[in-house]
């Protein structure tokens, strides 16, 4: 195996651009992708993909001791006319097509779910109203799988809303036909004790556009793994995320964009605010440009705003390039503080302390929130941000 040559760039938190003969993104995982949980060793915490995660707070999702209970979560789907909503057995051919589990919990979810939800938007159907999937935790342990498939040239917005309390491992597949346009907003607005782990796979068809917003507020531990691959040239992925990590919360977003096809684009922008003792956010941004992916254009960015002492951010952008024939590739990561001097400055201009904090955090998130384009979701997110801030003052 060839050694990857790692060239650190810029003043990122822990970023690197690797020029690799073989992908380190793939090889640093402890096992190859598999649908079978038995193919993954039980993590001990020192593996590259687990080293930031407090295993003891996974409530047994990682070692097979978390057994599904009857009332784990309730899923309700609200879809406009023309959309097919089904519950299917695991034999259904659409399941798992967008990607294969890459870690033990994703494989555990895949091995343990009983029924999968499938939402299908037929080809050339353009929806004017969002599809809403409400996942409400009822306090139990659950494994799940959801497929969202858009036929060729279909257009849809899907909002997946996670609320309540649960220990949940669930994967989501997004399958986009040629020329399809899908916007997904996944909101993790869990109660304080919830644990949520999942892998989100998007397979983007030729000339299709995938836009994803991952919004994480709640939970004791949330660990999501959004992944994108392309089924044909001309595909575009925009992966946006925002998280507000409070005292004691662990929120981890691990992204992979696999440029496995020529002439595709990706743009990743995740922003997080942290406050309180023990707040821990982890952002891993892997972008892989395979040798055959000529004409790739990619950029990834992570910004964090630390509002108080005692919070911790691990931000690791990782760009791996196997061909020089690309349009562009870049990454950035920065973590800033909102400190007493900034507070003083704003207050010295007449702005009360709580409003000063709100101003800073709203401003920080605004550019991302505005791109969602779904009014009630945008309004709710801004409200939620204000609530989070009020809780801290």
């Amino acid at each position: 195996m060839a050694e990857a040559q790692n060239i650190p760039v810029g003043s990122t938190t822990a970023g690197q651009i690797a020029v690799a003969a073989e992908s380190t993104v793939a090889t640093r995982m402890s096992a190859p992708p598999s649908f079978d949980v038995a193919d993954f060793p039980v993590p001990h915490g020192r593996e590259e993909e687990w080293r930031f995660t407090p295993l003891e707070r996974l409530r047994g999702l990682h070692d097979g001791t978390a057994v599904a209970t009857g009332e784990g979560v309730k899923v309700a789907v609200e879809a406009p006319e023309g959309v097919t909503v089904e519950t299917v057995d695991r034999g259904d051919a659409r399941i798992g097509r967008a990607g294969t589990p890459v870690d033990r919990i994703a494989a555990q979810a895949y091995s343990a779910f009983e029924k999968a939800g499938v939402v299908t938007v037929p080809k050339e159907t353009v929806l004017t109203e969002p599809i809403r999937i409400a996942v409400h935790g009822e306090g139990g342990v659950a494994y799940g799988h959801q497929v969202v498939e858009l036929g060729a040239f279909a257009e849809a917005v899907v909002v997946i809303d996670h609320t309540g309390d649960a220990v949940l491992a669930a994967n989501v597949d997004y399958i986009l036909g040629d020329g399809a346009k899908l916007t997904v907003v996944s909101v993790q607005d869990w109660d304080d004790k919830a644990v949520h782990v999942g892998q989100h796979n998007a397979l983007i068809g030729r000339d299709a556009t995938f836009k994803s917003f991952v919004v994480t507020f709640g939970g004791d531990l949330v660990r999501l793994h959004p992944r994108v691959a392309y089924a044909g040239p001309g595909g575009e992925a925009e992966l946006f995320g925002l998280y507000f990590t409070d005292a004691g919360q662990h929120q981890e977003h691990r992204l992979l964009v696999d440029h496995n096809t020529p002439h595709c684009k990706s743009n990743v922008a995740y922003k997080g605010a942290l406050q309180g003792e023990g707040a821990h956010a982890v952002w891993i941004g892997d972008v892989l440009i395979e040798a055959k992916a000529e004409g790739t254009d990619t950029y990834e960015m992570n910004r964090n705003l630390v509002l108080t002492d005692g919070a911790r951010v691990d931000s690791v952008p990782n760009l791996e390039i196997e061909t020089g024939e690309i349009v562009g590739a870049g990454h950035a990561s920065a973590t800033g503080r909102f400190d007493d001097e900034q507070l003083f400055y704003l207050m010295a201009r007449g702005i009360p302390a709580d409003e000063a904090r709100r101003l800073v955090v709203r401003g920080f998130f605004a550019e991302l929130v505005q791109q969602i384009g779904v009014d009630d979701i945008q309004a709710r997110l801004l409200e939620k941000i204000d609530e989070e801030l009020e809780a801290s003052v």
Binding site: L305, G336, F338, D340, E341, Q342, F344, Y345, L346, M347, A348, R349, G350, I351, P352, A353, E355, L359, V360, V361, R362, G363, F364, F365
Partner: protein, 254 residues
């Protein structure tokens, strides 16, 4: 007429696990329409005076009084002081990530004026004020002080002074780090506000250079945590020629 009265102000600061007295009894009265220059060597306590008046939490008031039109300033929080009409143009304005200049100015003006300025007149007001300070319109979309040059930071401070129209403006070494052109632009801004006759100005500086552009009514020499000599503009000329030596020698700064 607005009057800021400082009486026997004593201030300490915690440094190296010790409490150090920085201001040792400052007496000063600044009235609307007046310009007072406070001059002194480094470490004399000039900036401490500025930040103490604005209410920076680092400084502890151990004695004396500060009133604005009879109201007890020392009892007010930082934002209350600003809304009461005190303005501090800072020597080192901090970066505020995520907040654009335009959003910041509007939020601040809303807080100071007690109501949101009407959007149309506000946009015009800001635009004109920026033009007068030779600031590019794109400036409004940048984050507060983020990546600003020294000159841009000071212009931004004076822009706020022009828009917020305080009763008492404290300018803490606004001239430091400016080249002659920037100094002229910034001074013109200060003079525009002064010409309104509605602001009392406390101009804190190490150098006499800025006093060629902004003519003070009174000059005070600050040394060892208090005012050691007061006079008219002619006192600045004396300092220009003789420096601070006369004030730092002997027991004054001890």
């Amino acid at each position: 007429m607005a009057t800021l009265e400082i009486r026997d102000l004593r201030v300490t600061v915690e440094a190296d696990n010790a409490t150090k007295e920085i201001l040792k009894g400052v007496d000063l009265t600044v009235k609307q329409g007046e310009t007072h220059a406070i001059m002194g060597p480094n470490g004399s306590g000039k900036s401490t005076l500025a930040y103490s008046l604005a209410g920076h939490p680092k400084y502890t008031i151990t004695g004396g009084t500060v009133t604005l039109d009879g109201e007890d300033v020392l009892e007010m929080s930082v934002d209350e002081r600003a809304r009461a009409g005190l303005f501090l143009a800072m020597q080192y304005p901090v970066e505020v990530p995520g907040v654009s200049v335009s959003n910041f100015l509007r939020t601040s003006a809303t807080a100071i004026r007690g109501e949101a300025p009407k959007l149309r007149t506000w946009v015009k007001e800001v635009k004109e004020a920026m033009e007068r300070l030779h600031m590019d319109p794109s400036f409004a979309e940048r984050n507060v002080n983020e990546g600003f040059s020294g000159g841009e930071k000071k212009r931004h401070e004076i822009l706020q002074l022009e828009l917020l129209k305080p009763k008492i403006a404290i300018l803490d070494e606004t001239d430091s780090g400016l080249d002659v052109d920037a100094l002229r632009v910034v001074s013109e801004g200060v003079n525009r506000v002064r010409e309104s006759g509605e602001v009392g100005t406390l101009l804190i500086t190490h150098y006499t250079r800025i006093l060629r552009y902004i003519k003070p009514d009174f000059v005070h020499v600050f040394s060892g945590g208090r005012i050691v000599e007061s006079g008219g503009a002619e006192l600045a000329d004396k300092l220009e020629n003789e420096g601070y030596e006369a004030y730092t020698k002997g027991g004054v700064s001890a």
